[in-house]
């Protein structure tokens, strides 16, 4: 019963979305507050309907209702409860439902923030948002309906893809979707501003929390996905430049650029047109990611839906929204009034540079992802654009960006002083250089990239905190005063500092992978395998049977320079229903580094192929990302309404900043 009611609620949501699209748009044109006030109520109703629908599907999963085709294809009665619930979105149809649910949730939050958003902007935004909802509801109902029934119902389901039977599934997709869908709100706001032909600092102020929130969640989502791939796929890598990963990296890069350009717009009323364009492009890249992953163009663990009909449908949505919004942009953007002016060397200038680097980096990823696909379509030739391409293009673009980052942070608004800013970073620069040289000397003969990268990371972390120091402390200031001043600094400053420090930590983690060591051998119980200073001894291999899989567990004792440091288990599993094997890597965390053991094929004579890795500081990659997202969150709590104050040259001399 509840399944059918959920199905009907989804159809109702479509009808309501149509109203949410037409009536507020009409109200905004006619300037009729009554019609505009239909928008928020309808948005809430749409959310209630979709939430009910989602609940209905969840109930079907939890009770293993195998009359629902989607449950049959992705569930199994012996599956643990948590995977029954997370399995709801561990498939194409269900994940689309989660996507629309988050979209509707955000729509209702926009609807509820009545007093902070101008009425016309809100009405237009909700209408654009409804258009996105309509497109995806139609897509779901017509091509990927999660409520399709099969009669007679099979007695057992086909189980969830074993790679997805992991706590990661409960975390990674929701985070990622909140990120993707959050950018749809920025997109809706941008289109609404274009429809109304009005855009100003108020707009930027309203959009910024959305962008910031979406960006923080996307950061977490990508980091979580990367860690999941790291421990589940058993290859020991954390980023593969896989097209599906790139599909999430592109909106992230564009979103990072958007975040920074919104700051300029909010503070200085400048870069309006560019910010609008970025908001459109960011969401377009999210949609492109959806298309690449869902259309069957790419094959990976994410491609649930290899179905040309669905691909065509998403392509149509893609063309409609990207083409439509860009056309709207081309038509209305010239009418927007340009805002504040600034000198090239200024905070604004630095942020423009940041935007240039980020969008170019994003473009290289786009080319690296789409070119092989295009080539295959045109010539039928399959090429693989992997790490070498991105090392050659992406890294040279990101390096100068990172080098300039602490500098830009110290520049003043409107008119900056490059040398003055550089001066404040002397100490930071010195420490980083010493670190690099010391590491280089200590690990003489090792890879050069590691000390250089770690030096860069240290420079970023210290450079970020330098901002706090210079703004709260000068020679002769008592510590207590400085501390109070630092605590009084706006949350957005702390957020910026944390996020940038997070980038530094991630850079350190990435650089340290150059020191990683690897050992590969076929061992029998009792034999040892060596990787750098670490050794692993295979103790025994024991079979184990769980509810829905069988596994061979290899128990290892780990030694560091001959001393035992612990034991770990690495598994080779076979999920019975799908007959699919998976590798569960055994991981032992030592400080910030990890010992990682992954099993290969067992041999007839009882020996087993084993890969042993030691990855120093590898955890910093993800810790850094989490701190980045945390910075976004801290900045989000900043309720101040800020304005860029032009600082006159003579007043800046009196400001308590220099910290030589």
């Amino acid at each position: 019963m509840i399944v059918e009611a959920g199905h009907f609620a989804l159809a109702l949501a479509l009808g309501l979305s149509l109203i949410q699209f037409i009536v507020p748009l009409w109200g905004a044109r006619a300037n009729d507050p009554v019609l505009m006030s239909v928008g928020p109520v309808t948005a809430l109703a749409v959310f209630v309907c979709i939430a009910f629908s989602f609940l209905a599907l969840t109930v079907a999963y939890v009770t293993s209702d195998f009359s629902v085709a989607n449950v049959v294809a992705n569930s199994h009665s012996t599956k643990p409860l948590i995977y029954k619930i997370s399995g709801v979105w561990g498939n194409h149809e269900g994940s689309m439902l989660l996507w629309v649910l988050i979209l509707a949730l955000f729509g209702s939050v926009v609807a509820l923030s009545r007093n902070s958003i101008p009425m016309r902007l809100q009405a237009n935004t909700l209408a654009v948002q409804a258009a996105v909802t309509i497109a995806f509801l139609l897509f779901m109902l017509l091509t990927s309906n999660p409520f399709t029934r099969i009669i007679p119902a099979p007695i057992e389901g086909q189980d969830l893809n074993p790679l997805l039977q992991d706590p990661g599934l409960a975390i990674h997709p929701p985070l990622l979707y909140i990120g993707y869908v959050g950018f749809s709100i920025s997109f809706a706001f941008a289109c609404a501003a274009l429809i109304d032909g009005r855009i100003d600092a108020v707009w930027a102020r309203i959009v910024r929390p959305w962008t910031l929130g979406a960006w923080a969640f996307l950061t977490l989502g990508i980091a979580m996905g990367s860690y999941w791939a790291y421990y589940e796929l058993g290859w020991g890598g954390w980023w593969f430049w896989d097209p599906v990963e790139n599909a999430s990296l592109m909106p992230w890069l564009a979103g990072t650029a958007l975040l920074h350009s919104t700051v300029v717009m909010e503070k200085r009323d400048a870069l309006k047109v560019w910010t609008i364009l970025l908001a459109i492009l960011t969401f377009s890249l999210s949609l492109l990611g959806t298309f690449l992953v869902r259309s069957g163009v790419l094959t990976s663990v994410h491609s649930f839906a290899v179905d040309p009909e669905r691909g065509t449908f998403i392509l149509a949505i893609l063309i409609l929204f990207i083409g439509g919004s860009l056309a709207l942009f081309a038509w209305r953007a010239p009418m927007l009034k340009q805002g504040g002016l600034f000198a090239p060397v200024s905070r604004e200038g630095a942020l423009v540079l940041n935007n240039l680097f980020l969008s170019t980096a994003c473009a290289t990823v786009l080319i690296g992802t789409l070119y092989p696909l295009a080539l295959e379509v045109v010539t039928g030739e399959k090429i693989s654009v992997g790490e070498p391409f991105f090392n050659l293009t992406f890294i040279p673009l990101v390096l100068p960006l990172l080098l300039l980052l602490p500098l830009g942070q110290t520049l003043a608004w409107k008119r900056g002083n490059f040398l003055g800013s550089a001066q404040r970073l002397y100490a930071v620069f010195g420490i980083s250089l010493v670190t690099t040289v010391a590491l280089f000397a200590f690990y003489y003969g090792g890879p050069v990239a590691a000390p250089l990268g770690i030096g860069l990371g240290v420079y970023l972390v210290l450079g970020s905190f330098n901002e706090i120091v210079t703004r709260s402390w000068s020679k002769g200031t008592p510590f207590a005063v400085a501390r109070r001043k630092a605590a009084n600094l706006p949350r957005s400053t702390w957020g910026t500092v944390l996020a940038h420090a997070g980038v530094g930590l991630t850079v350190i983690g990435i650089a340290a992978t150059a020191w990683g060591v690897e050992g590969l051998a076929t061992v029998k119980p009792g034999e040892r395998l060596k990787a750098g200073d670490y050794e692993a001894r295979l103790e025994r291999v024991i079979p184990r049977t769980e509810a829905n899989f069988r596994e061979d567990v290899a128990v290892f004792t780990i030694y560091l320079q001959g001393h035992e440091v612990g034991t770990l288990e690495s598994m080779k599993r076979l999920y019975v229903t799908r007959g699919m094997p998976t590798t569960e890597a055994g991981i032992m965390t030592v400080g910030l580094g990890q010992v990682y053991v992954s099993l290969g094929e067992p041999q007839a004579d009882g020996s087993v192929g084993v890969r042993l890795y030691y990855k120093p500081l590898v955890l910093l990659i993800w810790i850094g990302s989490v701190i980045m997202a945390l910075g976004g969150g801290v900045s989000l709590t900043d309720r101040r309404l800020r304005i860029g104050a032009p600082v006159r040259a003579k007043t800046s001399a009196a400001a308590p900043v220099p910290a030589e």
């Binding site: 293993s64 209702d65 099979p154 108020v202 032009p646 600082v647």
Partner: protein, 367 residues
Amino acid sequence: MVIWIILLLMTAAAVMAVLWPLSRHRAFSAQQLDPDMQFYREQIAEIERDRERGVLLDSEAEAAKAEAGRRLLRATGMTSDTFAALGEPALRRRRAASTLALSMIPIMALVIYGAYGSPHLMANPPQRQAEQPGSNLDLMTAVSQIEAHLAKHPEDGRGWEVVAPVYFRMGRLDDAVKAYETAIRYLGPGAERLSSYGETLVLANDGLVSSKAQAVFEQAVQLDASAFKARYYLAVAAEQDGQPEKAKQAYAALLASSPEGAPWANAIKQRLASLGVEQPVAGQQNAPQIGAEDIARMVSGLAERLETQGGSPEEWARLIRSYTVLGQRDKAVATAARARQVLAQDDAGLKTIDAMTRELKLTDAGP
């Protein structure tokens, strides 16, 4: 019935949600209508507070306030639009919007749900595993017991035959294929066994009837010409091989020889419909257009056989139904009369014929 009431209530609630804001009179706050001025006023107040906290220097605060003041002036100049919530045009707009909500929401919902939903399942909910907790677990235990038994006695064909359909329904198709193969090896081929084996092969092959499966079905039909499942899949094979005419004939023959209300009848009708054959509805006068000759030939064959060699009451009943389906009502009535003569000694048989004539409403014309 209950389901329709629930769906109706849901629709009503959705429509009300839209009608509610359209129907009420509400004062709109100045801030909502014109938040820009509010924004800059708050901004100036904020700058003042910052100066008191010592975060901003006096000179910086002055500059910031001046800038915010300039923007406030600009914003004041821009909000000249007046809102139009009252008057005749506004009322007309409200009415139009209400009509839109009243019509569009139910229509969209019903059209989409009507096309893709399965409301009939509400009345007769399918048997659900969840209602018998543990039944699956019992089955799992049973399966593992059989598996353990078969591991010790792999030559037990019966065991393989028992476990094969269970594997099949659990979706473990490869295991089911192996189980059927082993069962056939030890128990020998039987029409039923071969048909099920072939069906498993087809499903394991994503619905494609491979030449291997086809050979299995052909063997099944050789053993038992009426092996229904095998004949059905052979028809599907013909369709997949690009022989629609052959497939049509085979389907039509299957349909004609199926009792009314057979669970597979709908599947066959769908196959026929996809091949472009319109299905006659029992009791109506529209004769089939394509494949009619074949059916007619089959029916006359059956009639001849029954007349010359006699047959079971079920076969007589089938013949009566066939005539009705072909729209030859008088022949059906005549056949019913003939059957009563032939089966005069068979009380149960007469009952079968009576039931059939009643079902087909031939009684009024009956003797």
